[in-house]
Amino acid sequence: MANVRFSMAGDTLYAYLTGEIDHDAAQSLRLEIDDALVCHLPHTLVLDFSGVGFMDSSGVGLILGRQRRVKALGGRIQVQHAPRQLRRVLDLAQIPCGDPNQAAVSSEGGNQT
């Protein structure tokens, strides 16, 4: 089971994910995030994984799928606050992730504050 909560700040949409992200959970998260993207049309989508206790490669598919959508809308995506277990999966997929104690790193490679 996983959930997502949204907040908008300027032209950035924050998606705070919680729970366990597997193939089952990714299906509903995808729909919810895509609805929010269409509704808010943000320049930046920030996916925050601090509340996620488990994620397999379905989460990678979720991120890459959202990245394609955001890019098609002219925006960019940022992944942040992934716990250690998630980082191992993200590392395999070469998805950069902002450190909780540092400025987040965006998919474009630049430092964000």
Binding site: D22, H23, D56, S58, L64
Partner: protein, 147 residues
Amino acid sequence: MKAENSTRIQFDSLSVNEAYARGAVAAFLARYDPTVPQLADIKTAVSEAVTNCIVHAYPDRVGQIVMTIAVYPDRRIRITVADRGIGIPDVAQAMEPLFTTGDPEERSGLGFAVMQSFMDQVKVTSHPARGTRVVMTKQLAAKTSDT
């Protein structure tokens, strides 16, 4: 070497059972005190193997998935995930990172890469129309009280 303990569970290829499968593995291995990272690795690998059965082995129907877990006296664990689905025509190709026959928009193609990276050894045997068997092994670290 003979397993000192083993279990076998069978469940439907429904995506809700992905969480059940990794919960069952965690519950069975709890008494062997795996480290937190090791248990996370095993749960992730199991989740990948079971998801493959649900998404790829039984694309058009609900079939059965059988998972066995065996623990050996040297703290090696062996997990088998087997289905009787459509099979994989080319196992070597299926195991290449980023290869997927699923929806390329939503599947990362990293399932086998995760299993291979998170477990010590992964063996896949498959026969078209007869099913696929994934055997994964991992050596658990010595218990803290043993050292």
